[in-house]
Symmetry: C2
């Protein structure tokens, strides 16, 4: 068994957070400079439009291209129909950047919703002029995209800016971490496990000692409980982690860090249905919506260990066990089959076989054999026979 | 600060689980006896109908009354329109009871979905007769109510039968627990916390050492993160726990155990909207759907610490901060105002004030002041001034 002593502080650290803060200051300085030069101030924001997104087959990730949009202060026109004026968005961008800078300086973080309420305040007007009744933000649907604007403009992850998402998911395995100063041995976390927080950057979470050979990312919490109960992580010396369905950012980022810093292969175990394929594809290539984060979230080497549409046959699951595909499932399967990153022969074969059979196979379907079939027979055999897709 | 050494094994223990198993055997014996007496075998199942549910004002919980339904083996008629025959339901009941008994004997547990798939098998026919194509269960919507039937018939919680629900939520505080043999110090769980498992009965979770003075149950994970970040549990010597919205069974049952075994008062902190009131009411009185579990899940002494519809005024939240009530919110508020357990004057005043103001106040709205206002000013003052509702 290989023992490795991982160095703390690789990946994103407090230093990186400070650097993100400096990039916000630089942005602000360039705005001030333009104003002093009596020019119309602006910010250039990389365009998060579909036409500016591409799958980089060589790197195996979905990437943002070079296109940018310039947001001027002195413009009352929106960029798109129904959008607020550039002047307003400019002001919003500057105010959100200001809050992020304050969070960085205080070593603090907050949620998207808290940040929205923090800026649900009237627009400041110059001294001596009447007070404005207009609010900086009226709805969270306005503030969320501004955070993304800043992320991509100063090339920082949301987590470095100090903005966290929901928390979901748990983890155990032969790994000792430090979380916010507390040393936590993930082999001694009982039936519950360690709850994966939303922000898992290296200034919060450090890997101290690892005996893990690989990471197993499981789609569902209930199935993860079975893997924990049967102590799969002990028998197979691996980290088991789940994200309660589509894994949240914290889980994805933590798996990314274990893969890159601890050099652990990553296996993804999902339902055999189009939604399972999609969960795998987001872990592997990133998502179209958040293409600018792929470089630090996506894991191109992640392997799809199951469930495969060939598994029912391989493992003698009786034909009355799987559920029929719904119309919605079929529509989604067709979409997914057309994705550029699913064009390899094995993947086309995998998806088309599911469509041909007309059924989906959930992880829990293996309980038709017995409750521990998935941990004692199914997964060990798939690993042993290297029956995964890349 | 009071130190208490809680005894393990109070509340539900492995012994209680075994007792539930014995009650299943007893049920089975009575069926066999009836068959031997050449009578029509039956099971008597307490009726989980609205008319058999009542709020017990003295105990402060929603209770099941004495009505039962008899399910015969030799009847092809359903009890209600569209329901399967009693014969089929009888068979389903016996098969599910059998699986539960096997889980108890093996010290094992499984999910509702796994159990469904485990019994998605053809009905057994006597040797020599043709095989049946009919499945015991075709859909999980059939198997879930059968579990509830068995729970209520043998007076065991689902968790004692070995059937777990989804997991959600996390917990930290000055409390040391044993979870499945691992000793876990909940003051050293970092930013993530201990993930609350679905089954928290005393054969899995034991309380070892507690310095906690109270339990704070927080509606939202993002707000819990703030309480953990600001180390509220350390400053105020309390356990903080969340259930990611409507708390799942594991969280409710664990809070119940801490309340009853560690004698800790329970404070519930939710959004000020009808859904927040409802979350509180389920924690306190139990729910109508699962009235048979109230006795071992509901916490009649739980206190509503906020947010109150009077808080915006009390804490000088500007009027542009709260969100307007939607039509759906208003409809729900009216329903909740009519619940028998909200008939006290202070509660009528609380709900009517929200309706009159026409706005709701989320926990995150306090971030309009500053991100730590909720942990440093709002909650300490509410506790100090005893501004809660019973």
């Amino acid at each position: 068994m290989a023992k490795s002593k991982a160095k703390a502080g690789r990946g994103t650290s407090g230093r990186d957070r400070a650097a993100a803060g400096e990039r916000i200051v630089k942005l602000a300085r360039s705005v001030v400079q333009t104003v002093r030069g009596a020019d119309d101030p602006f910010v250039d924001i990389p365009a998060r439009t579909l036409s500016n997104v591409q799958f980089n087959a060589k790197k195996g990730i979905i990437e943002l291209q070079g296109g940018t949009q310039r947001r001027y202060f002195f413009s009352l026109l929106g960029r798109r129909k129904g959008e607020g004026s550039q002047a307003k968005k400019f002001m919003q961008t500057v105010r959100v950047a200001e809050v992020c800078k304050r969070l960085i300086d205080a070593g603090d973080s907050t949620s998207l919703r808290d940040l929205f309420y923090n800026l649900k305040v009237p627009i400041k007007t110059p001294p001596g002029t009447p007070r404005s009744r207009e609010l900086i933000f009226l709805d969270q649907s306005e503030s969320d995209p501004i955070i993304e604007d800043i992320e991509v403009t100063v090339s920082a992850l949301r987590e470095e800016l100090g903005v966290h998402a929901e928390t979901k998911g748990a983890m155990v395995g032969p790994l000792t971490i430090v979380d916010n100063g507390d040393t936590i041995d993930l082999t001694a976390m009982g039936s519950g496990g360690w709850a994966v927080p939303s922000i898992v950057e290296a200034d919060v979470i450090q890997f101290v000692k690892s005996r893990a050979q690989f990471v197993l990312l499981i789609e569902k919490g209930a199935v993860w409980q079975r893997f924990n109960k049967d102590r799969f992580w002990e028998k197979h010396q691996c980290v088991i982690i789940h994200g309660g369905g589509q894994p949240p950012r914290g889980v994805r980022r933590l798996v990314y860090r274990m893969h890159n810093e601890l050099k652990l292969p990553v296996y993804v175990l999902v339902d055999n249905d189009p939604w399972g394929y999609y969960i795998y594809s987001v872990v592997k290539q990133g998502s179209i919506n958040l293409a600018f984060e792929s470089q630090r979230m996506a894991i191109p080497a992640a392997r799809f260990i199951g469930m495969s549409s060939f598994d029912a046959d391989e493992f003698d699951i009786p034909s009355h066990v799987p559920m029929p595909l719904t119309d919605e499932d079929r529509r989604r399967a067709k979409e997914i089959r057309a994705y550029p990153w699913f064009q390899s022969k094995p993947w086309q074969r995998e998806i088309q076989h599911m469509e041909r059979l007309g059924v989906k196979l959930e992880l829990e379907a293996l309980s038709n054999k017995n409750f521990s079939f998935i941990t004692e027979e199914y997964l060990p055999r798939k690993m042993r026979e290297k029956r995964w897709l890349d």
